[in-house]
């Protein structure tokens, strides 16, 4: 039978792999962006990013010092007797020491840092139940530089698609050089204020080379991505061809009187990782096989 210790062990290994290596789709987009830059300053920025990715993998070191706060998405089988939450929390504590991760989680008012990335509601875990027999744990270790550029707009239905585009453009412009471009934009459209924000982050869990299943949404993803890449903000905001590596949208039906739109900005280091833990304790890392 699975124990908390199994969950902890898998969480530590998941965090280690996630902060050291990027998922294949993001790494591929970065290498393409490097190849596309022709001017000296953006080329130098992209070269540093690519060299850093290689060096992090070679030395098994976190690619960025900002290993984020740990946000988890967990899918449980219908029958699950192990205390997954306890296992994850202990895993975060252990990973902070062993990987190591930077202790980032602080009290929002006193700014006291307990040093282990564990505190009130942190790590934050989103729960789901699925029809599989394994436990699936996905983590995003996202830095604050990009998270700080995220935004919510409560648009009116009359503002419509134009309003959505206007908000996306203004958010990318306002973020400018700050979120470590080339970035990935996650958008959540519809639902309610909180649901759109949640969807914006979940949009970042989808590989950037996979379009939304809804053709209207997929069209908007492509149109916005192409348009933003005409801005010339470029790598690190120092000018250049690639401002965005990708743009993903998730949506939900919303009230007939509202149109919430949320944007979650992800730096180039789009770190997400998944582990599947089978009932016999075997683990698989679909995003990080290496």
């Amino acid at each position: 039978m699975l124990t908390e210790a199994d969950i902890t062990k898998a969480t530590v290994e998941l965090l280690r792999r996630t902060v050291v290596r990027l998922p294949g789709d993001v790494e591929e987009a970065i290498r393409k962006a490097y190849a596309a830059e022709t001017d000296e300053v953006p080329r130098m920025q992209m070269k540093a990013i690519v060299d850093n990715i290689d060096l992090a993998a070679k030395t098994s070191t976190p690619m960025c010092q900002d290993t984020g706060v740990t946000i988890f998405y967990v899918s449980l089988p219908r029958k699950c007797e192990v205390d997954v939450e306890k296992g994850i929390v202990e895993g975060v504590r252990k990973a902070t020491k062993e990987v190591p991760l930077r202790p980032n989680a602080v009290h929002p008012i006193t700014r006291k840092n307990p040093g282990d990335n564990v505190g009130e509601r942190m790590p934050f875990i989103n729960w789901k139940v699925h029809d599989k027999d394994y436990i699936e744990i996905t983590v995003m270790t996202k830095g604050a530089g990009s998270e700080n550029m995220s935004a919510l707009a409560m648009l009116t239905p009359t503002q419509g698609v134009k309003g959505i585009k206007e908000f996306a453009l203004n958010t990318v412009l306002k973020a400018g050089s700050n979120p470590c471009p080339p970035t990935i934009i996650g958008m959540g459209i519809g639902g309610s204020a909180d649901i759109s924000m949640k969807l914006a982050k979940e949009a970042l869990l989808r590989p950037i080379n996979v379009r939304n299943k809804d053709p209207e949404i997929a069209k908007l993803e492509t149109e916005l991505l192409e348009a933003m890449n005409m801005l010339g903000i470029g790598p690190m905001g120092l000018g250049g061809k690639t401002t965005l590596l990708g743009l993903n949208i998730e949506y939900a039906f919303c009230h007939t009187a509202s149109l919430p739109v949320a944007i979650n900005v992800q730096c180039w280091a789009g770190r997400r990782g998944t582990v599947r833990i089978s009932p016999d304790g075997k683990t698989a890392y679909p995003t990080h096989e290496r």
């Binding site: 130098m44 850093n52 690619m63 202790p103 905001g237 120092l238 000018g239």
Partner: protein, 202 residues
């Protein structure tokens, strides 16, 4: 034409700082201090209360960075040390430059006009290092000679780092009032019109 990269040693002399041109590549040797949000707040509060701060920032390179550090035996070593978003320090940086007179600020994302002005007035430059490239940056840090204000937490403390060929750094704001970010922004403003047309926006 591309200039040869320059190698400078801290503490920096004002005349060397003022001689740096926009877009030039620089590598640093010598001591580098880290300092971000809390260091700015605490240093200025200390000054206001007439209290001493533990390091001398004059001519120094102040790195907007909260590293991952690991203690091996009784010695600290740096695991990863990329820059943090400098924009968060916009509100306090002009005053910090005026009072503590650093020669260079290392970060990412650039800084706003009041900081550009303070840099011109007091002889300081902004050196951009690639955000997120933390393992690469740590390669240029030979050792840690100490840490001050550790009670602020690992990311917010002052780490005293010994740099050896730390870089490449791009002079993104010089001491003459020029900013690479301002130049890019002007270009982006132009491009915005094309983007608006493509998206069917006014």
């Amino acid at each position: 034409m591309t200039k040869m990269p320059k190698r400078l040693k801290t503490p920096l002399a004002e005349k060397d700082v003022r001689a740096l041109d926009l877009g030039e590549t620089v590598y640093l040797d010598g001591v580098i201090f880290t300092g971000r949000d809390e260091v700015h707040i605490h240093a200025l509060e200390h000054l206001e209360k007439g209290q001493k701060i533990p390091v001398d920032f004059k001519g120094s390179a102040l790195f907007h960075c909260g590293p991952i550090a690991r203690k091996v035996g009784d010695k600290w070593e740096i695991v990863a040390a990329g820059p943090t978003t400098s924009g968060r320090m916009n509100a306090l940086e002009p005053q910090f430059i005026e009072k503590f007179r650093p020669g260079a600020i290392i970060g990412k994302g650039g800084m706003s006009q009041p900081t550009v002005d303070a840099m011109k007035k007091h002889g300081c430059v902004y050196l951009a290092i690639t955000g997120g490239a933390a393992v690469l940056a740590a390669k240029g840090i030979k050792s840690v000679s100490g840490v001050e204000w550790f009670e602020l937490g690992m990311p917010e403390a002052i780490w005293i780092l010994n740099a050896d060929n730390f870089g490449p750094l791009t002079v993104a704001i010089d001491a003459k009032g020029n900013s690479l970010y301002a130049a890019v922004n002007a270009k982006v403003k132009e491009n915005e019109q094309k983007v608006r047309a493509k998206l069917g926006l006014k």
